[in-house]
Amino acid sequence: MANVKRRGFLAAMGASFLAGCTKIGQTEAGQAAFDASESWHRIVHRFLGNGRLVKEYDASAISPTFRGNGTIDPDNAAYRAAAAAGFADWRLEVAGLVERPLSLSMDDIRALPQRSQITRHDCVEGWSAIGQWTGPQLSLILDEARLAPEARFIVFRCADNLNGDDYYESCDLDDAYHPQTIVAHQLNEEPLPIKNGAPLRMRIERQLGYKHAKYLTAIEAVASLDDIGKGKGGYWEDRSGYHWYAGI
């Protein structure tokens, strides 16, 4: 009898602990604590990393395939038509707070100095894959467009629409100018497959996979992320509350 009661009591304690946690997490104070923790992680990571590179692997480490996740085949007429034409007319716009807006063709992008890197891709879900990515450093493109002094973030616009919203992402200038941040047009020395973001995708190697925007159409320099999308700096950030700083 006493045992049953005690068990009931423990179960009730457990349930109210859980309900309490769930509630606290959704209060403003809870959210403020989560946000603070996110930015402390970023500060510590930047302090310790100090601009250094992530590990680059040997060719033997490349995983036999490279998983595609999220959108793996953008479902819209314009993208379909571009894919059917082999992405020959694809353009990458560089706009926003820049002194010289650009519109780059695939040939322009291939003509820039290239960086090739074999890196590990870590998905927020927990899995990892390794591949070789090739393309110009984002810093070269930003320097050519001449970033205005007010610019603080780089926004990446994409051709895919997921669950009714356009995919986009953003990063700060520290990541934008990191030597391994490239606009990739090749995976394992072949043009990007559609599931991995053809014809262009970002590589932002110090962050989780959802930051590496695929099907890239435009790069926009901005002073604030407040007026972009729902203001949290990315599709998953807006939709599900994922960290904007996804280096954790």
Partner: protein, 232 residues
């Protein structure tokens, strides 16, 4: 010992803050596990067919929050990683400084003799918790030592090794663990090792007199001062 606190203030502070952190980290961790419940060895891994372990799905009553949300679970997890790691650093400094580690946790060579260990295990099985002059017997020293020295620091290290933002400054540690997916597998194994410790630990506290044990761990009050020696 009579008259002295059974547990130092630093130990009591660490013990209860750590409990809150570890419970939240474990339960939010189980929610994170639901996102991709397959574990791999090596640097990469994403195909369930190549997993060494396919983890069962954890139900809502075992996770924080109590429904599937990778984003919110990660919010809780990376927030409580801070106090857990910092208080661990604190207790190590305090234990080394106040002598608790040297006197009560460190084991001596002679305690490792098989006959001694067997006697200890037998006494435990008889639920006989007398252990002479020392604060903890050999098995307690060993398990507490493993918790302080291996499991909890291991959780922090393997946790840090999974963060891509730490990778540039932590490459050596990831390589030491055999790659990021190995670090993730080790993190998971250590989490369940800690859970096993937790169950046995709480059971032994209940069996050995939960009231004085808890009072001692909260207020520090030394039971030997008040209760018959047999009970302590």
């Amino acid at each position: 010992m009579t008259g002295r606190k059974r547990h130092a203030f630093s130990t009591r502070l660490w013990h209860w803050i750590n409990l809150v952190c570890v419970v939240i980290l474990f339960m939010s961790g189980l929610n994170i596990s639901n996102a991709h419940p397959y574990l791999y060895w090596g640097d990469y891994g994403f195909r369930p067919a190549e997993a060494w372990l396919s983890v069962p799905r954890f139900p809502g009553w075992a996770t924080i929050p109590d429904f599937y949300s990778l984003a919110q679970a990660r919010d809780w997890h990376v927030l409580f990683a801070w106090p857990m790691a910092l208080i661990l650093l604190f207790i190590w400094v305090a234990m080394l400084a106040n002598g608790h580690f040297w006197q009560d946790i460190r084991t001596r060579r002679r305690e490792w003799q098989v006959s001694e260990v067997v006697r200890d295990i037998k006494a435990h099985l008889r639920l006989d918790f007398h252990h002479g002059a020392g604060k903890y017997n050999f098995l307690q020293k060993l398990t507490y030592g493993l918790v302080f020295g291996i499991i909890l620091p291991g959780m922090v290290f393997t946790g840090m090794a999974m963060s891509p933002g730490l990778e540039p400054s932590f490459t050596w540690a990831i390589e030491l663990m055999g790659g990021r997916q190995s670090a993730r597998s080790l993190h998971f194994i250590l989490a369940w090792t800690l859970f096993a410790f937790f169950v046995v630990h709480v059971l032994l506290v209940i069996l050995s007199g939960p009231v004085w044990q808890l009072r001692a761990m909260i207020t520090g009050r030394n039971p030997k001062a008040a209760t018959p020696a047999g009970e302590a």
